[in-house]
């Protein structure tokens, strides 16, 4: 076991984690970044293709500023967001975020006259270099900023547990350094958890390879509360074939430099979603798109896993290729955006909920545990708000550190965690199964019973099945090769534990929310119920690991839904 110490451990190398580390560094605190992937090359952040123009930035009118805030609260979060947080984040993004990025060198795409290119319409967005690629440029910049600042990191190192002391406060982090095959113990009194929110619970998912709900599982075991886990988003226009292009989106967002966007067609060739006409204020009209698809599925004219199509054929090809990389899938397949359509399918996108935090401070109820970005339950972030979280978490940690006890690694807990990890690295028993097999079984059952259309009976079956996987399959799990070095199967085995635990919690949360909202739909409770369920669906850990449920209403200071109850498929968000 390798031993390290850090003033603050930042877990995650996406937009939230890297910015938290940079901000800590700026404030004179020495962070250590742990990243399961490569910093700036893993997680959802590289996918953030569109950058929303908030507030009065770039000549937004007062109306556009209002529409943008409304888009975030209504279309993007279905009112499940702290509106004070949304306002504070928006102000910071307008005042600090884009100037900081541009000062550091990010190139926001201009035209030849020097105007930043945006789409027309109520909610505008821009792009770094090229629409669709923004996140790559962004994260490349963050990676270099971290390198330049000399902030230490452990890459391809997965945090596996948060260690707490006798008072329940953070005292350390355990991790697996994948390349060396070494367990690492880090003594620290503050952790900023920034592990993102897209996890691979389904056969098709927008989450990158390594995402397996680790942050949620670790925080839960350390005593944090969770909320709104059940609100699972879906991407409705990701390429179906080749199968591995499940994260390659035929973007429904307006193309910058125009007011146009892709259209969706059912199996009869009829248009069933046209963002321009159907959702003019929706910069990312995913929920509406999804509901339209659900109706096609009901009509037998599409399936969630394919049989519908997306294209740009109604738009001049120059308009599409002027400022975007949206043609990339077509081009790589030798197809033309002028004439061809591509078959699309749903991929599970992010989980809206996550760890309960105080969104004014990014602190959890576990002393020393802070959260930034997608893994938090406070908002369904875009890349800009998750960066705000990173800033805020760092600010809070810098202020709290003098009050936190010096860290002493709880040796017994560290030894127990190392023993748990080593026990997972064992040879495949005679009738055993590989961790990849268990992951596959879980994904199959989630897509069958926890897809868009679901009900109590199916979810109860899903829960029983997850329990069976945990109790019967997991004990039979082993590895074809037990080398510690760069053993992805070992990492898979660690992932399985987290995935099964969080899957069970998610199903329970879904059973508890007896309504439908946004992308969350129950056939047995098909109405969006703003009277009873405009609330946080909170899970509190108990001694035996089972959740207790409670709800907490949202304050609605700026924006309220305009109906009490309505069939969810008829709601336009």
């Amino acid at each position: 076991m390798r031993r390290l110490a850090a003033e603050t451990a930042v877990i995650g190398g996406g937009a939230a984690g890297t910015f938290a580390a940079l901000e800590l560094h700026r404030r004179g605190v020495k962070p250590l970044i742990l990243c399961k992937g490569l910093v700036g090359k893993s997680g959802a952040s590289i996918f953030a293709g569109n950058l929303v123009v908030p507030g009065r930035l770039l000549g937004n009118t007062a109306e556009q500023a209002r529409d943008t805030a409304e888009f975030l609260i209504r279309m993007h979060n279905h009112f499940l967001i702290d509106q004070h947080y949304a306002r504070a984040a928006g102000e910071w993004i307008e005042r600090e975020y884009y100037p900081e990025l541009e000062r550091a060198g990010l190139y926001l795409r201009r035209d030849d006259r020097g105007e930043i290119v945006t789409n027309d319409g109520p909610v505008r967005c821009m792009a770094a270099h090229s629409q669709g690629e923004s996140g790559v440029l962004f994260m490349d910049l963050r990676r270099k900023q971290v390198l330049k600042a000399g902030i230490p990191w452990l890459e391809e190192t997965a945090a596996t547990a948060l260690l707490t002391d006798a008072d329940g406060a953070i005292a350390g982090v355990m991790a697996l350094d994948l390349a060396r095959g070494e367990v690492v113990a880090i003594a620290t009194r503050a952790v900023i958890l920034a592990t993102g929110y897209a996890d691979r619970f389904y056969p098709r998912s927008t989450a990158t390879r390594e995402m397996s709900a680790d942050g949620i599982a670790m925080a839960w075991r350390a005593g944090a509360e969770l909320m709104n886990l059940e609100i699972q988003w879906w991407h409705t226009s990701d390429v179906r074939f080749p199968l591995c292009w499940q994260r390659t989106q035929i973007y429904p967002n307006p193309i910058i430099g125009s007011s146009h966007s892709a259209r969706l067609y059912n199996s009869d060739g009829e248009v069933f979603f046209d963002q321009e006409a159907d959702a003019p204020t929706a910069m990312g009209p995913y929920t509406l798109q999804l509901k339209r698809l659900a109706k096609q599925v009901l009509a037998g004219k599409a399936r969630f896993d394919g049989g519908y199509y997306s294209s740009f054929t109604h738009i001049a090809p120059n308009t599409v290729s002027a400022y975007t990389d949206y043609a990339k899938a077509f081009t790589a397949l030798g197809k033309s955006i002028a004439t061809d359509t591509l078959e699309t399918a749903c991929s599970a996108h992010y989980r809206q909920g996550g760890i309960v935090v105080d969104p004014a401070r990014m602190a959890t109820r576990v002393p020393g545990l802070y959260v930034a970005g997608g893994v938090g339950g406070h908002s369904n972030g875009l890349i800009a708000p998750v960066t705000y979280d990173g800033m805020l978490a760092a600010e809070t940690v810098a202020g709290d550190l003098p009050r936190l006890k010096p860290a002493a690694l709880p040796e017994d807990k560290a030894a127990a965690e190392e023993a748990r990890l080593q026990a997972l690295r064992r040879s495949l028993p005679g009738n055993g199964v590989t961790p990849a097999h268990v992951k596959k079984a879980l994904r199959a059952l989630m897509s069958e019973k926890m897809g868009f259309f679901k009900n109590a009976a199916g979810m109860e079956e899903a829960l029983a099945e997850v329990t069976r996987l945990r109790d019967e399959l997991m004990p039979a799990m082993g590895l074809a090769n037990v080398t510690p070095r760069l053993n992805y199967a070992w990492l898979d085995a660690i992932d399985v534990t987290n995935l099964l635990e969080v899957a069970a919690l998610t199903i329970r949360a879904a059973l508890n929310r007896t309504e439908s909202r946004g992308p969350f739909y129950r056939t047995d409770f098909p109405e969006t119920d703003n009277e009873r369920w405009l609330v946080k669906n909170i899970l509190t850990p108990t001694a035996n690991g089972d959740p207790n449920f409670r709800t907490e209403p949202y304050e609605l200071p700026f924006l309220k839904p305009d109906f009490p109850r309505r069939e969810s498929l008829e709601v336009d968000w």
């Binding site: 190139y107 030798g334 197809k335």
Partner: protein, 341 residues
């Protein structure tokens, strides 16, 4: 409206239509029910004396990519193959491997019926197909490829046109996949040169060609990048999965900057220019002599080999061979800048 260049253009796809190897043609070469045979490099330097190849047969699925073969092997066929990937969307740039000798992004490359899959070159293997990126990364960092402003930042949005950014725009597509780094024969020479390699130089070009950048990037290209060691063979461009014109769009502009800013040290370029001006075309032995001077004679065996292969012709060099239309070439020099200074 400025149109972005078609991604397909570039050295990468030269001649592919003629050989039936275009992206469209590759969609129909295999069909569902077919089998893909993959010979995959396996090696654990900690325990294996030498690398070996394991052969796997994988069922073809529609428009299958190389990554799907690797995933199938590691997840369905027993589960021990180390290969790196994160996004499967041509964005993270971490899944590059060599397929039948050519660098590709596993997530973006269509499968071949028979494939030999190996790790990238010019980087140590950690295990199987996973290479250690640290040494490469160190070369990138040594070039300080982050913007250092000439003027204080004027506030958002700063005055800047796309026309001014156009020279750097293609380099901004780089996803640091290391394909070009693996393909470059000069990087392959190892310690014999201090050449930074194509990918690090693309990173440098991003800032060097950015009008907002204010430091002497030519000097960095030369002193930390040894940019003149590039032999303009275009191997790098041939494999770039995002079709960056690495030589014409990044390395040559860096050479030009180096030439301008470090007069005494860009010997290679200056000698090259002089020879062409004197003789009408390049003469390799005169070039080596001019650049390395007497040091060039230290390797008689190498000289002999080069001569045997017809790469150099010392006789012509000594006789001062020149093209008949030399005057026309000198006029070009005059027209451009009045000859080398």
């Amino acid at each position: 409206m400025a149109e972005r260049p078609q991604v397909l253009a570039g050295a990468r796809n030269l001649g592919r239509d003629d050989t039936g190897d275009s992206p469209a043609a590759r969609l129909t070469r295999l069909k569902e029910g077919d089998t893909v045979t993959a010979r995959i490099f396996c090696f654990d330097p900690a325990s294996d004396a030498a690398p070996r190849f394991e052969t796997h047969r994988v069922p073809y699925t529609k428009w299958m990519r190389v990554l799907e073969v690797l995933t199938y092997v590691s997840e369905e066929l027993g589960g021990d193959l180390a290969h790196r990937w994160f996004c499967a969307n041509r964005m993270c740039g971490t899944c590059a491997v060599r397929v039948n000798g050519r660098e590709v992004l596993a997530c973006w490359e269509p499968v071949e019926p028979e494939m030999t899959i190996e790790p990238l070159r010019n980087a140590p293997v950690v295990r199987d197909l996973v290479i250690d990126r640290t040494a490469y990364e160190r070369r990138v960092v040594a070039l300080t490829p982050w913007l250092v402003r000439q003027e204080p930042y004027p506030g958002f949005p700063e005055p800047l046109t796309h026309r001014a950014m156009a020279p750097t725009a293609r380099a901004l597509d780089c996803i640091s996949c290391m394909c070009c780094f693996s393909a470059c024969p000069v990087v392959g020479l190892g310690q014999e040169t201090s050449f930074a390699g194509p990918a690090p130089l693309v990173q440098l070009a991003r800032v060097a060609l950015d009008p907002r950048d204010g430091i002497d990037r030519g000097r960095i290209a030369l002193e930390h990048g040894a940019v003149f060691d590039c032999i303009s063979c275009y191997k790098c461009e041939e494999v770039c999965p995002v079709s960056i014109p690495i030589v014409t769009g990044a390395i040559e502009p860096l050479k030009a900057l180096a030439f301008k800013s470090v007069a005494g040290k860009s010997r290679h370029a200056r000698v090259f220019l002089k020879i062409v001006q004197a003789r009408g075309r390049i003469d390799p032995s005169a070039l080596v002599l001019g650049v390395q001077r007497l040091a060039a004679l230290r390797h008689p065996l190498r000289i002999f080999k080069l001569w045997r292969r017809g790469k150099i012709d010392p006789l012509k060099t000594m006789l001062g061979f020149r093209l008949p239309d030399i005057e026309q070439i000198r006029q070009i020099y005059q027209a451009v800048r009045g000859g080398p200074r």
